[in-house]
Amino acid sequence: MEDAGFIIGGYVLTFATVALMAWRYVRSGRKLGERVPDEEKYWL
């Protein structure tokens, strides 16, 4: 595959960003969730 570095680099960058965002959101949700009673969480 020609120019594989650019193409794979583009995919790696995109999916690394997705993974990082997903990890940050879940982690912050869990941390905040520890401080808030379950009765206050409208989604439960």
Partner: protein, 274 residues
Amino acid sequence: MTTTDPRPTSEPTDARPARRGTGTRGTRVVGIAAIIAMVWLVAFGLGFSPEDRDQRESVRLLYVHVPTIWLAYLAFVVTAIGSGMYLFTKKKSLGWDRLAGASAEIGTVFVAVTLVVGALWGRLTWGVFWQWDARLTTTALLFVTYVGYLAVRRLGGTHEQRARRSSVIGLIAVLEIPLVHWSVRLWRSLHQEATVLDTDGDVDMDGLMLFSLFVGVIAFSLLYVWLVMHRTRAMAMEDLLDDHGLDEALAARRAEDDTLSATPEPAVDPKGAS
């Protein structure tokens, strides 16, 4: 049937169940669907899809470049809807504002990804990473506008003040999307015109290429839904803790004032003072 507590009796027993985060069955279903779609996207984007006659292998970058800007457009339109719903409904629910804020945050990240992946594609196709071309410049402007929107959300004040300020910006900023989309027609542009959503309705793409793009759009749409669900819930908890923090600080201050007013002042002996 009886059960026994496996913990030693010397340990303190805490019957309170662990408090839960932002995940639910709904987020898990959407998350798994998004992961499956992403795997398909990689398989079709890097493997099964053929190379393009003109762009050759670089076309593979478009299977992530187009879905990421689609996600950003979707996110900014939802931001505008959330902003409008906050401003123009009687109830003025902060839930709409949080939806707008979460959506803008996600959209801004994915505009940045679009710009970087687009630069890689540009280097392969045009020979340069960046040109001050109409499409590229308007997209960069879109990114800066939403960074500004997020900065405004972080200014001080009450949640209602935050919501009012940012809703106005959210409604104005969305007007940039048609400008970005039509920039390739309004001005002479190096960037190619729309292949799928063009005005004549023709789709000038090979079937497998179109399918790969479609998988990408589905994957990133599911990802958006998953991210926005988690983020709006986290923002609701942030606001709640903010309110509780303020209440606690006020209560502590009142208690301090009450203690001071209840304590008799010590008698001062003018002679004894040195």
